[in-house]
């Protein structure tokens, strides 16, 4: 069942096309990653999906509700975490959560009970009565996510949830996202951290210049840039003498043996591990490690978008995205 359905979505600002005719679907309980560099159109897309911005063209449905025509009804089922923590600085954590719950019409007892549960879940019990402005960045982010979950939404939109926070908080947030997915929440996540998407997303779309340049599951994206399978063996002794024999024994494969006791086998077909190990064992070669070599998601991203991720983004580029 599709929880998010986006069809031919376009957003233009004067002559600039921020989002250019994109379509995708997200199934129930899925984590869908929307990956792209700053200024690619991620925030513009998410803003249209949550009803904060009007599409120039196209259709959006969230939980079966047309966001353009029944915005408020659709928003009732959405949890939204913007790219900046935007709770009220003057209020403490507990009151912030209770206030957010009241916006969804929750009664006092219900919102207070839920706020307490979320503070515990997000390990913010001790900070519940501290003003939001006194929170660290990681705590602010966690409370903002807690606020988005206060009304138990069916679909959670996370815009750059771990940007600018410490490693430990990032890990906690990622664990929580996975936990939410297991409970059946559908999650739409934008990020420019490739490794984050690789770790937690079921499917990923790459956006660049306002267009989706590739979309699919991790293996599908990997296969789209590399049709080859590769295994690297690290052996106890020199194995270069067996390279040619290995290549002829396993037809269609290409073997490179290096002086550092490494053998790399590549093939268009999957390489059966056990026969190769047995082959080497029978020739007295002890295998210490065997590992499948795959292109990283970053390799795929660079290949598909032509954007070099090693080049740092220019200051202020994030603003351009908005």
């Amino acid at each position: 069942m599709n929880m998010i359905s986006v069809s031919r979505l376009t957003k233009t600002y004067g002559d600039l096309t921020a989002v250019d005719d994109i379509s995708f679907q997200v199934e129930k309980g899925e984590i869908y990653g929307f990956l792209g560099p700053n200024g690619a159109g991620k925030t513009s897309t998410i803003n249209m999906m949550i009803g904060l911005s009007r599409p120039s063209a196209g259709e959006i449905e969230v939980a079966g509700i047309d966001v353009r025509r029944r915005t408020k009804k659709a928003q009732a089922g959405m949890g939204i975490v913007p790219d900046e923590s935007n709770l009220y600085n003057e209020m403490d954590g507990f009151d912030n959560l209770c206030f957010c719950a009241s916006l969804y019409g929750m009664r006092r007892e219900e919102r207070e009970a839920k706020a307490r549960r979320l503070l515990t879940l997000f390990r913010l019990d001790d900070a519940g009565r501290r003003p939001f402005k006194a929170y660290s960045r990681g705590m602010r982010r966690r409370l903002t996510i807690a606020a988005a979950l206060i009304h138990s939404p069916q679909v959670l939109f996370l815009d750059e949830p771990t940007t600018g926070i410490d490693v430990e908080s990032s890990r906690q947030i990622r664990d929580l996202i996975v936990e939410l997915k297991q409970q059946g929440t559908t999650i739409f996540l934008t990020t420019h951290y490739i490794e984050e998407a690789e770790r937690i997303c079921d499917r990923i779309a790459f956006i660049a210049g306002g267009r989706i340049v590739a979309a699919g599951s991790l293996p599908e994206l990997m296969d789209s840039v590399s049709r080859q399978h590769a295994i690297r063996f690290i052996t106890a002794g020199n194995s270069t003498v067996h390279a040619a024999e290995l290549e002829s024994r396993f037809a269609g494969s290409e073997v490179r043996a290096q002086a550092d006791r490494t053998i790399v086998m590549t093939s268009r077909q999957r390489i059966p591990l056990f026969p190769v190990m047995e082959f080497l064992h029978n020739r007295g070669v002890e295998v210490l490690e065997a590992r499948e070599l795959r292109p990283s998601l970053e390799d795929v991203f660079v290949r598909l978008t032509g954007i070099d991720t090693s080049v740092p983004a220019k200051p202020g580029q994030k603003e351009a995205d908005q």
């Binding site: 803003n47 009007r54 408020k72 928003q75 959405m78 939204i80 206030f99 916006l103 969804y104």
Partner: protein, 243 residues
């Protein structure tokens, strides 16, 4: 019911976060007091009763327009205002909740000079129900003008500048300092478009018994202005904030 829960909590939050803060309470008391004292020092022979309609109007106008324009612009710059735009509540409910706190604050401001005057002159002939209604309608129209400023401003300082841009000309055109009959002919139509003109006149009638327009017309025009400003504000919010 859900809309009412949201309305009540937005109002409560604004009162706690903004209107009950010591600087704003002191502003709410000091500002009308200063105006009253200034007028008394300037014309010691002037009757407090003659000054009162103007003092009430100015207190409401300055209290409401400043507060709403600044609080909304402040929330928008910190993006917490997005929470309200993304909540499943109607735009009208949200607008009413945001202006409700300001209206209460404006009414509190209005009654500072009234309380002060009550110690100095006899106000027993005043129809308090009608006065409360007039103050409420002035506060509503002024708050909605503050909202229009907030919709047009990006930063707090812009909101303050814009507020002054229309507040001061309005003070001089609404018949508060210069009677409408003595204004240049070409400015009179502008005066009759200002809600404060009707607010001041109805207050003058209630406190001193010397109004120039019919009270029914004044209340009607204030109500009409409130409806028009509310409709324009809603339209502007949709156009400017949901891009």
């Amino acid at each position: 019911m859900k809309g009412w829960i949201a309305f009540w909590n937005i109002l409560k939050k604004d009162i706690r976060n903004y209107y009950l803060k010591p600087p704003n309470i002191s502003w709410g008391i000091i500002f009308p007091l200063s105006w009253t004292l200034m007028q008394l020092i300037r014309s010691p022979d002037g009757s407090i009763q003659d000054l009162l309609p103007g003092l009430i109007s100015m207190s409401v106008l300055f209290g409401t327009t400043s507060m709403l324009a600044v609080t909304i612009t402040f929330e928008r710059s910190g993006r917490s205002f997005e929470r309200l735009l993304l909540a499943p509540i109607g735009l009208s409910t949200m607008v009413l909740a945001k202006i409700a706190g300001t209206i209460l604050f404006g009414m509190f401001n209005a009654f500072v000079p009234v309380i002060l005057a009550a110690f100095l002159v006899d106000l027993h002939a005043v129809n308090w129900g009608a006065l409360l209604l007039a103050v409420l309608l002035i506060a509503v129209t002024s708050a909605l003008m503050g909202l229009l400023v907030a919709v047009s401003a990006e930063q707090v300082f812009e909101a303050q500048t814009l507020s002054n841009f229309f507040r001061f000309p309005m003070l001089f055109l609404c018949g508060l300092f210069i009677p409408l009959a003595r204004l240049p002919v070409f400015l009179r139509p502008v005066s009759y478009c200002l809600p404060l003109t009707y607010g001041t006149d109805v207050l003058r009638g209630l406190i001193t018994g010397s109004s120039t327009l019919s009270p029914a017309l004044c209340y009607g025009m204030l109500l009409l202005s409130a409806i028009a400003l509310f409709t324009i504000s809603r339209h502007m919010i949709r156009r400017n904030w949901i891009l």
